[in-house]
């Protein structure tokens, strides 16, 4: 059961994000908010193969949810604060988790062949996504080099934040420079003149994909239904 999500096609995975995004607009009161959050939490427990990643996403989304709740409370709307926070969670968390399971190349296959999006656009988009997934390796390398050069952070928390900032800047510089080298490498593999592009793998829809899409729509509909029922 918990390995099925890995076999879903990438469009279905992305649909979880879209369904939750649309569903979050229906969250106006406490019952619909709680229903939405609980539905996705239960789904996560049942369907996801690992704990760490969804919890990490939850923590990150929790930051923005917390900030939204705080500003609602400061604006004197303290009743609404928990609802606003939960709306942000439903809006962002499922999509963030689902996207983590997408293989960029497979997403490209489905977007180009299934949705008929122009091939060149899809191919460059896929290459960029691939770059993002390889960023952890680059980060590790840059971090290691800086540590060896005495440029790592000390114990001081301010320095730690400063280090993170300068690492982020280094990553930005490295990805900009990497982008031009990558674009040269891509063009020099026939991409510059690619008019009619083909795809190495087909984009089929299995029965599991259909069920997955149904679950995704149903989860997105939970806040709507909760709102109609109360």
């Amino acid at each position: 059961m918990r390995q099925l999500v890995v076999r879903l096609n990438p469009l279905v995975l992305v649909s979880f994000g879209f369904a939750s995004l649309l569903g979050s607009f229906a969250i106006r009161d406490l019952p619909s908010a709680v229903a939405g959050v609980v539905a996705y939490a239960v789904a996560a427990v049942i369907f996801l193969p690992s704990w760490r990643y969804p919890l990490a996403c939850l923590a990150l989304c929790g930051v923005s949810a917390g900030l939204v709740a705080y500003s609602a409370w400061r604006l004197g709307n303290s009743d609404h604060a928990p609802v606003a926070a939960m709306r942000i969670l439903v809006l962002a968390w499922p999509g963030a988790v689902a996207v983590g399971f997408v293989d960029p190349s497979r997403l490209g296959d489905y977007v180009a062949q299934g949705l008929r999006v122009p091939a060149r656009f899809v191919a460059s988009f896929v290459a960029v996504l691939q770059r993002v997934t390889s960023m952890t390796t680059t980060w590790q390398q840059v971090d290691r080099t800086r540590r060896a050069r005495g440029l790592g952070p000390g114990r001081n928390p301010v320095a730690v934040v400063g280090h993170a900032g300068s690492m982020t800047f280094a990553m930005l510089a490295s990805s900009l420079r990497g982008a031009s080298r990558m674009s040269i490498a891509m063009d020099a593999r026939g991409f510059a003149t690619a008019q009619r592009r083909t795809w190495a793998e087909p984009a089929p829809w299995s029965r599991l994909d259909v069920v997955g899409l149904a679950v995704s729509v149903a989860l997105g509909a939970v806040p709507v239904v909760a709102r109609l029922l109360t």
């Binding site: 983590g100 691939q130 840059v142 540590r147 060896a148 040269i184 020099a188 190495a200």
Partner: protein, 475 residues
């Protein structure tokens, strides 16, 4: 009219943005369809620039001032100098398929070419193996497979075997030769070590430091008549003995604090390429025992993917072993804060650019010394490695070989007791090689522990000790 596979440069001049003088100026070069050309010259001569011109990247993707005529007939395929740049997919099969997809082949033909190309370069992990789990040398072969699968009219290779051991390099050359013979494609190879390529090409073009053609002959004449003059220019001419390491003032590299012997004890390192669709674990090192000593240069050798870089990083406390330990230095390097680590360690990473933080070459060299409060004679160091003329240049704007030398200086300038060099001689000509080798041996003679992972036979010959690895195990 240009026919497929023809290459023509007329008065080609290129001045990159931010450089005062052109890298290449007024270059004339015509290559006929099916010709196989070896392009040689000292580090920084503009060899990669010529390849970039041929793929149409100058003035478009790379900014600068381009003049003259550049004409290329037919489809071009390039293996870039940094092989990681050409990775476009998460799995190796899909990555190689990128070229065939671009030219609109049908699915059966795509996979036929993918399998054949992966086989040709000796990557046998299977189509679904993640690209993130490949070593530098493996990425280099993947990049070549991607170009072979495209079956281009013009094949351009930028130092395609720089990170490969002899066996893999030979099989890569063989794969290139077979492919080019079958397809009749034009071949332009940029390489520093010319010897092994001479049988494969029918013409050798040598550029000098200003990007001018100083020799354009067939390989036989080349080997017969040009050995001495071009050897003096810095070209790795076959038949010449390895250059003598360039003597260096030992005070420039004498360790502030001499370290004791370091030993790796029963070291296991498992590297994880993690994605949510699964974690690929590569056992980079398994039960490795090794020692590196002060006053000696130790060479870590072995085929690509053997675990050389991993062992080097583990010695420097830059990577934690899964089990086993590194003994000898107290407090252990792994547990130290950055500045305390840097006081004893200098590291040259495989991709030099990752370490650069300053705006000029001169500032870059002094960064670590400034951080831990040590004096450094920047000018003397720059002069030793032939970078004095580039002291004011931005580190990112240097050529591949120049960046590697700068990276070496950033590692050694603060005079650490442990010097770890990951492939320090890649992209070096004979003269810069002598300077790099001279620095490594001078540091060792002055008391530093020097360890280098390398495929370079001449560098291994200079080493006092050799640690041979294969598939993560001591051989």
């Amino acid at each position: 009219m240009t026919s497929a596979g023809e290459v023509r440069l007329r008065g080609f001049t290129w001045r990159p943005l931010g450089r005062r003088l052109p890298v290449v100026s007024g270059l004339d070069l015509t290559i006929g369809p099916g010709e196989r050309v070896l392009l040689a010259g000292p580090s920084g001569a503009g060899k990669s620039t010529v390849l970039h011109a041929l793929v149409g990247a100058l003035g478009t993707t790379l900014s600068g001032e381009l003049s003259g005529e550049v004409v290329v007939g037919g489809r071009v395929g390039l293996v870039p100098q940094q092989p990681g740049d050409s990775v476009v997919a998460e799995r190796i099969g899909r990555d190689v398929a990128f070229g065939p997809e671009n030219v609109g082949l049908d699915r059966d033909e795509i996979w036929r070419r993918v399998d054949r190309s992966l086989e040709a370069v000796g990557l046998r992990q299977g189509r679904d193996h993640p690209t993130a789990a490949l070593s530098g040398g493996e990425l280099q072969r993947l990049s070549l497979a991607g170009v072979l699968a495209l079956e281009p009219d013009v094949v351009l290779l930028d130092e395609p075997t720089s990170m490969l051991d002899e066996d893999h390099a030979a099989s890569v050359r063989e794969a290139v030769a077979r492919n080019v013979a079958d397809s009749g494609a034009t071949l332009v190879v940029v390489e520093h070590h010319l010897g092994p390529w001479l049988d494969l090409v029918d013409r050798v073009v040598v550029l000098d430091a200003d990007g001018q053609v100083v020799a354009d002959v067939d390989p036989v004449t080349f080997a017969r008549d040009h050995t001495t003059p071009l050897g003096d220019l810095g070209v790795w001419m076959p038949g010449l003995p390895a250059p003598q390491p360039l003597a260096m003032d030992p005070e420039l590299v004498r360790p502030e604090r001499v370290l004791p012997e370091l030993s790796a004890v029963d070291l296991d390192v498992v590297l994880r390429a993690r994605s949510l669709r699964g974690t690929i674990e590569t056992r980079a090192l398994h039960g490795v025992d090794a020692r590196i000593r002060p006053g000696q240069v130790t060479a870590l050798t072995g085929p690509s993917g053997a675990g050389k870089s991993t062992l080097l990083a583990a010695f420097g406390g830059l990577l934690g072993p899964t089990t086993g330990r590194i003994e000898g230095v107290e407090p252990p390097l792994r547990r130290r804060r950055s500045a305390a680590l840097a006081a004893d360690v200098g590291w040259v990473p495989q991709v030099p650019e990752h370490g650069f933080v300053a705006g000029t070459v001169r500032e870059e060299v002094a960064v670590t010394a400034g951080r831990i409060g040590r004096e450094v004679d920047v000018d003397a160091l720059l002069a030793h490695l032939g970078l004095d003329a580039l002291a004011g240049a931005h580190p990112y704007r240097l050529s591949g070989g120049e960046q590697r030398r700068l990276s070496l200086l950033t590692a050694v300038a603060h005079r650490p007791g442990l010097l770890l060099l990951d492939e320090p001689t890649v992209g070096q000509d004979r003269r810069t090689w002598a300077a790099v080798a001279g620095l490594a041996t001078a540091a060792a003679s002055a008391g530093a522990v020097v360890a280098t992972s390398t495929h370079d036979r001449d560098l291994v010959a200079l080493a006092d000790e050799v640690v041979a690895l294969e598939a993560g195990v001591r051989r």
